[in-house]
């Protein structure tokens, strides 16, 4: 009986340790800003960028919204690697501290139904399917093809004093 109890305690501890770690890893993948997967698919029209971005959520609909939000986040904080015939695009906000310095602004900007939606247009007709919609253990991973109003977004952030404009100081 004592041995059985010992085994149970060890098993419980092990679950607690490794289970939590696994959960944290998943959370990091879902929530982390660094987990943004977005790439240029083609050169957009004047002032826009055509982006494919991945989102995660419990339902495909919510994952699609997340993908849109992440596309805008990528444009602001990360930029995009060269691809789809376009050269590398740097982030609009180059100051690494801007995210924390202007936390209130970005919380409001990226809230559900926030202003970020003005700068992103979905190019998907209906819900993405096939390889752009993956069923995962805890939900869905969905890729959205979006057009980002990059120049308008940059101007908005410059006007708010969050991004530095090219002619700043002159």
């Amino acid at each position: 009986m004592k041995k059985l109890l010992q085994i149970l305690v060890i098993a419980g501890l092990a679950y607690g340790l490794f289970g939590c770690a696994a959960k944290k890893t998943m959370d990091a993948t879902y929530e982390s800003e660094h987990a943004i997967e977005a790439e240029i698919i083609s050169v957009g029209n004047d002032g826009t960028k055509m982006i494919k971005s991945w989102g995660y959520a419990k339902t495909p609909e919510l994952a699609l919204i997340d993908a849109k939000r992440k596309a805008v986040k990528a444009a602001i904080f990360h930029g995009f690697a060269a691809g789809g015939g376009s050269a590398k695009v740097g982030p609009i906000v180059k100051d690494e501290n801007a995210k924390t310095e202007h936390k209130a602004f970005f919380d409001e900007f990226f809230k559900d139904g926030g202003k970020y939606l003005q700068y992103v247009n979905s190019k998907n007709v209906g819900m993405p399917s096939g390889e752009d919609r993956l069923k995962m253990k805890k939900g869905y991973k969905v890729a959205a093809s979006v057009s980002i109003e990059f120049d308008s977004l940059r101007k908005h952030l410059e006007e708010k004093g969050i991004a530095r404009s090219l002619d700043a100081g002159f």
Partner: protein, 334 residues
């Protein structure tokens, strides 16, 4: 005075101080660099937009920008697209065609100027003359080609930004576009501009940031004319210490460059070359006391005044600008 009055007074003083500080900070912005797009030598010469220039007996092949602009609609399209984007970012581009016209009008005047100088400008090529007339701080050197791969077409695009002061490459973006069999060359060219301007402007922004932090990079040459009484090895005393003129000039650069950044490239009895000189972006106008953007010539005038007033150099000093980022001070040159 009661406590309430004291506090109101304090608030007024604080508000005025903040306002004054804001005015002093924002009233005098730096001189905004001017930018001009120029097709690259390779682009012009390979398409036969070229001219020959006789430089003291040696024939040189140079690009003919006027011919290129008059005959190449692709080039005009690309320049026009770039102008739109740059204007949107706060940098309206100098128009190459207008500058060429201005140059033609000024040519006669320039010839007269040369005959009255020491002859320093005689070897000026049409390109140097254009740069001098246009006074563009940054040149966007552009080259592109429409290529074919089977039924598909694609664009190779190279854009280099040169600081006209130093000829250093400060920003660039290049690459090949996605091949397409449906898009017309016009569409592909427009796409190529859009695909590369953000990368180029990001690098340009880094350059501007560096310029504000470390000053603008220029070259100053001090030369000694045969007619001069002194040379750079002549000894002078300043602040009780005696040294060669070149040493004293070196001391001036230590005092007047940003973070003492400069390099003594050559130092002989008759020639002193100071390059990678980081001069401050601003200066005080000697007459009005206003804080204004500084150019290389302003900086060289300061050195001349110091040599004449503080060191007591008896020889006259001529200031000869060579392009935007280089000035020659010729001792005994007037």
């Amino acid at each position: 005075m009661n406590l309430k009055n004291k506090s109101t007074m304090k608030n007024i003083v604080l508000t005025i101080s903040v306002l004054l500080l804001a005015v002093s900070m924002f009233a005098q912005p730096a001189k905004k660099p001017t930018i001009m797009v120029v097709p690259s030598d390779q682009y012009c010469i390979s398409r036969d937009y070229k001219q020959e220039f006789n430089n003291q007996g040696e024939t040189k092949v140079l690009p003919d920008y006027k011919k290129a602009l008059q005959n190449d609609s692709d080039l005009r399209l690309v320049i026009s697209k770039m102008s739109g984007i740059m204007a949107d970012r706060g940098f309206p581009l100098k128009d190459l065609e207008q500058e060429l016209k201005k140059l033609e009008n000024e040519r006669a005047q320039k010839d007269m100027t040369i005959s009255s100088s020491t002859g320093m400008g005689l070897a000026e090529s049409p390109i140097d003359a254009l740069l001098r007339t246009a006074k563009a701080d940054i040149i966007m050197d552009l080259s592109f080609e429409i290529k074919r791969r089977g039924p598909q077409q694609y664009i190779t695009y190279i854009l280099n930004g040169y600081d006209a002061y130093t000829s250093k490459n400060i920003a660039s973006s290049s690459g090949a576009g996605e091949p397409s069999s449906a898009a017309t060359p016009d569409v592909l060219l427009e796409e190529a501009v859009l695909a590369h301007m953000d990368e180029f402007n990001d690098r340009l922004m880094n350059h501007f940031k560096d310029m504000f932090e470390k000053g603008r990079e220029v070259t100053i040459q001090v030369l000694v004319n045969d007619a001069a009484m002194d040379n750079l090895e002549s000894e002078y005393t300043w602040k009780g210490k005696t040294g060669e003129l070149s040493q004293l000039i070196n001391a001036w650069f230590i005092m007047n460059t940003v973070e003492k950044r400069f390099s003594r490239a050559t130092s002989t009895a008759n020639l002193l070359i100071m390059d990678q000189v980081r001069m401050p972006m601003f200066t005080e106008d000697p007459w009005t006391g206003e804080k204004v953007g500084q150019d290389t010539q302003d900086f060289a005038y300061k050195l001349r005044d110091w040599l004449e007033d503080e060191i007591g150099l008896a020889d006259p000093i001529k200031i000869a600008p060579k392009g935007l980022g280089e000035v020659w001070l010729i001792i005994g040159g007037k």
